[in-house]
């Protein structure tokens, strides 16, 4: 079933990779370049899943998760965090904020696809 | 978005759900269902023709409602689920919620 997925990452190539992988699997993808941009892009529309980088300018991934959990219409939306091994310290903070699914970069496209399907398949 | 209409003048009483019944809507649905149950009807038929989306939380609410009615010697029948809703019911083998009336094939 086609889902609407928001990908938040300041790296365009990472967004491209994620977008290609997900649109290839038949999903709709909305792109945002950082947490603040993501909140603008949400704009009340229905989102099935959020995939977010941790380290971003303006509003980082953890801040974004906290914001999302505070918004009624998005508080139950599943979130996949993309992180690097060096950001493991952020994981505890992120999990406390409500992001429970983490994927360590670099990852294979099929790995991401598998995670997405597990959460919203 | 969920819209819940009920008609307790019929027997079984009718319940129609429109929109989505997911984790986002279950609290609203729970509140409205409790209000509807206040009329005392034990036998209900739920029409899902307009329900576009159902998730496990929504299905759980229907299961709970069904158990409640059964415990009162009543019951809950499901009719007209859309294809997506039926897919979930079948995936989870929720046989007690299988429809006795299937939607007309388009």
């Amino acid at each position: 079933m086609s889902k609407t997925i928001l990908i938040v990452d300041d790296s365009m190539s990472m967004r491209q990779l994620v977008k290609m992988t997900l649109t290839g699997a038949g999903h709709q993808v909305i792109e945002a370049s950082d947490g603040r941009d993501a909140l603008t892009k949400l704009n009340g529309q229905k989102i099935n899943l959020i995939i977010s980088d941790v380290n971003m300018p303006n509003l980082d991934g953890i801040g974004l998760v906290k914001e999302i959990k505070n918004r009624n219409e998005y508080r139950f939306t599943p979130i996949i965090m993309l992180t690097t091994e060096s950001e493991q310290g952020k994981k505890a903070e992120g999990q406390a904020a409500g992001a429970k699914a983490w994927i360590v970069k670099p990852f294979q496209p099929q790995q991401l696809l598998a995670a997405v399907e597990k959460l919203v398949g | 978005m969920l819209e819940l209409r009920h008609d307790t003048h019929q027997d079984p009483a009718l319940l129609a759900l429109t929109g989505s019944l997911t984790i986002y809507e279950v609290r609203q649905a729970h509140d409205e269902l409790r209000a509807a149950l206040a009329g005392g009807q034990r036998q209900w038929r739920i029409d899902l023709a307009e329900l576009e989306e159902l998730d496990s939380a929504g299905a759980q609410l229907l299961l709970a409602l069904q158990r409640h009615l059964l415990s009162l010697d009543g019951g809950l029948d499901v009719s007209n689920p859309t294809a997506d809703v039926l897919e979930l019911l079948e995936l989870l083998h929720l046989q007690s919620l299988y429809p006795d009336v299937l939607p007309a094939q388009p």
Binding site: M20, T21, G24, A25, G26, R75, F76, T77, P78, I79, T84, E85, S86, G98, K100, A101, V104, K105, P106, Q108, P109, Q110, L113, A114, A115, E117, K118, L119, V120, G121 | I23, V26, R27, A29, H30, L33, R34, L37, D55, S56, A57, A59, Q60, L61, L63, A64, L65, R67, H68, L88, L91, L92, H93, L94
Partner: protein
């Protein structure tokens, strides 16, 4: 789903991963060949098969999944100490890896199907494995697609069905998780034959929190997956559920224990197990009765991952270890990035262009004489230089990977020939350009096969010659004056010059009266159509001769030399440039023409005094009391005679040879981006490529090894009959 191109791209990355995994697996097997009990190798092998199976599953490559599954189970048994490896098993498994490689090779990237799958061979291999393990083939069933066939009720024994119990925590939904999604995903691993949602923990409708999860699930899954793979499906919700997984064909007591441990009533769980076909009614009743009578000690409740009984300890350990291994691998992966080679090529091409344009800018700055401008172009050039070095380093990889593949080649070939040979690898950490590595692998394979086939004698011959029965083959790599040197040496019989000579005469390659040096005779084995074997064995004689080795090395701008000692062995020494893209050059000019000499070959420069060349164009000069063979390049290339009064000599060296090149002017060092010569000029002797100078002018890159060969042909007294003499004849009219 995925569109064709994207699918192909993803599949392509699987193919690469698959190749890597097979290589890892093979390396592990070869380690095990030396030490059957090497735990790290067994784990590595298991891990490789496990990962391969997992990835293949994502692409629904059923034959690959089925085949790897069998290998994985076998390895699991080995790892858990239930079976032990034998040399025969290792040989068999190597053949299995070959078959896997060929399966992966036959995957059509467009359709995602394994084309022309040889199920017969696969079944044979698996049966042979089973036989070698000393058990009937029923424990290693022939591969069958686990997902094929209609929905069937599992047979009463529960054969092949996993039992999965899930009890969710109330917070599940609120964290964005929907158990339905996980069930959907689980159904990809196999066929869900039974699923029951447990709703008995639902509180009274009026009291319930509709956002809390009260459900549980009992699932039967027919699947070839491993426990770790099933557990991975639930990886994100492990904190939000109690997960119990019972492997197929668990014992009655395992199921009884499960019944005891689950919070629901024994009857409820019992009836689910019966409904799933995992237990018969009779078994259940007997079991429960026995339990009630206290005939079986009650196991402690509440342990999540089940103590003894639910799963064999070995299986639990396996699962834990597997997770550990996955974690470790992720940690390693994060420090590496895989990049397609062509992207690096693109980068290096661009850096090449950058080098040229930066040099152009510097020239212009100098022409304008603007000091600030000159200074900033110098800074730019310095950075460009750093970028160039960094970019080139990106391509440098250790030769070890290439060397290591020869363990397998040596093992296979020596086994085929019934020879016992030990391979020694040295200098595996020596780095060279990836493109060079790729191109040198085949020639090396040929040299290695040749050494085993022709060089190293049979054990009897060796013993008779007073040598150890075991032959010795060595691969060695090291850096030497800006080149990488790769040696293939054996302790065999050495080259038989008499036979080479006879063969060459028979083949009409040389005149029967020719007087050739030892060196020239050796080099004859590289001549096209030459083969020393009396009978073409199917090893070295694969339709390609040593001439292919030679031309491959030539294409890499490398050289090869042979050092043979009769009865003691033979060494092939290959010298290659470290990279093909950019070199440090030394710019010289002849009249108005510019030439580049690879800097790493230049040993010194000096002014050409008044001493004349002994022989016009070619001849000797006195270098510190020793004769230095020299070429007057202007004359050699037929350029107009030099008008410059003070000319210079650039002394170049290659290996132990030295020569002087006489040029007009020296212009100093230069980053040289090599552009291949067009088709028209490829046959040119003595020129290996061209480059563009900052001024836009073209400079030709001198092919020093080829100049050396031409010079050698001229100075060799006995060279009248060799192939290289043709060069002399070409050159003679100019003399």
């Amino acid at each position: 789903m995925l569109n064709g191109e994207q699918w192909s791209q993803l599949l392509q990355s699987f193919l690469e991963e698959g190749g890597d995994l097979l290589k890892q697996a093979e390396e592990c097997l070869l380690v095990l060949d030396g030490d059957l009990a090497d735990e790290e190798a067994i784990n590595g092998l298991f891990r490789a098969m496990h990962t391969l199976k997992g990835s293949a599953g994502l692409f629904s490559l059923t034959p690959v999944v089925a085949f790897t599954h069998q290998l994985e189970s076998l390895l699991m048994a080995v790892r858990d100490g239930e079976r032990s490896l034998t040399p025969n098993l290792i040989s068999l498994m190597l053949r299995c890896l070959d078959e896997l490689g060929s399966m992966i090779g036959r995957i059509n990237v467009e359709t995602g199907a394994v084309e022309g799958n040889d199920e017969v061979l696969q079944t044979q291999l698996l049966n042979a494995l089973a036989a070698e393990m000393g058990q009937g083939s029923d424990s290693l069933p022939t591969p069958t697609a686990p997902r094929e066939g209609q929905v069937q009720r599992a047979p009463a024994t529960g054969e092949g069905a996993w039992h999965i119990s899930l009890r969710f925590s109330p917070d599940l939904y609120r964290n964005g998780f929907d158990p339905a999604a996980f069930v959907r995903y689980l159904s990809r691993l196999g066929e869900i034959t039974h699923l029951e949602v447990l709703d008995e923990n639902l509180p009274d409708f009026h009291q319930m929190d509709p956002e809390a999860c009260y459900l549980g699930m009992e699932i039967s899954l027919r699947s070839a997956s491993s426990k770790a793979e099933i557990e991975e499906v639930f990886e994100f919700i492990l904190d939000f559920c109690k997960l119990r997984i019972l492997p197929p064909e668990s014992s009655l007591s395992d199921y009884l224990q499960l019944i005891r441990e689950l919070p629901e009533t024994d009857e409820r769980i019992g009836s689910i197990l019966v409904a799933s076909g995992l237990l018969t009614e009779h078994e259940l009743n007997t079991g429960l009765t026995m339990q009630a009578q206290g005939e079986e000690p009650r196991a402690p409740l509440g342990s999540v991952l089940v103590e003894a009984g639910m799963v064999a300890p070995a299986v639990v350990n396996a699962a834990l270890e597997k997770q550990q291994v996955v974690r470790e691998r992720r940690a390693q992966e994060s420090s590496l990035i895989k990049v397609a080679a062509h992207k690096l090529d693109e980068l290096i091409n661009l850096v090449g262009e950058l080098v040229i344009s930066a040099a152009g800018a510097q020239l212009q700055a100098r022409a304008h004489g603007h000091s600030d401008f000159i200074e900033s172009t110098q800074v730019v050039n310095r950075h460009v230089e750093q970028i160039r070095e960094a970019a080139l380093k990106l391509r440098m990889i250790e030769i070890g990977d290439t060397f290591n593949r020869f363990h397998r080649v040596v093992r296979d070939v020596s086994q085929e020939l019934g020879k016992k040979i030990r391979l020694e690898v040295r200098g595996a950490d020596t780095e060279l350009d990836k493109s060079v590595t790729d191109k040198i692998a085949d020639p090396l394979t040929h040299l290695v096969r040749n050494a085993i086939d022709h060089g190293i004698e049979s054990a009897e011959e060796r013993l008779a010659a007073g040598k150890p029965a075991e032959g010795h083959l060595a691969l060695n790599a090291y850096h030497e004056s800006g080149m990488i040197v790769i040696e293939v040496s054996d302790d065999g019989r050495g080259l038989n010059t008499a036979r080479i000579r006879q063969k060459a005469i028979d083949k009409g390659l040389i005149d029967p009266n020719a007087n050739l040096s030892e060196h020239d005779l050796h080099m004859l084995i590289f001549a096209a159509g030459f083969s020393t074997a009396d009978s073409v064995s199917n090893l070295s004689g694969r339709g390609v001769g040593m001439d292919v080795v030679r031309s491959a090395i030539d294409q890499l701008r490398g050289t090869v030399e042979i050092e043979s000692r009769p009865g003691l062995g033979c060494t092939f020494r290959i010298r290659l440039p470290l990279t093909l893209a950019i070199i440090e050059g030394f710019l010289v000019s002849l009249g108005g023409e510019y030439f580049v000499i690879p800097l790493d070959m230049v040993t010194e420069c000096m002014e050409l005094g008044d001493q004349p060349l002994i022989d016009g164009i070619y001849g000797y000069l006195n270098l510190r009391g020793k004769p230095l063979p020299c070429i007057d390049l202007s004359a050699h290339f037929d350029l107009p005679a030099s008008a410059v009064r003070r000319r210079n000599i650039v002394v170049v060296s290659q290996g132990r040879q030295q020569a002087g090149l006489i040029v007009d002017q020296l212009h100093g060092e230069l980053q040289t981006v090599i552009k291949p010569l067009g088709l028209l000029f490829q046959h040119l002797q003595g020129i290996s490529g061209s480059t563009i100078l900052g001024s836009g002018q073209v400079a030709l890159i001198l092919d020093i090894p080829s100049l050396f060969r031409q010079l050698q042909a001229l100075v060799d007294t006995g060279a009248s009959e060799t192939r290289s003499v043709q060069n002399r004849q070409e050159l003679l009219p100019r003399l």
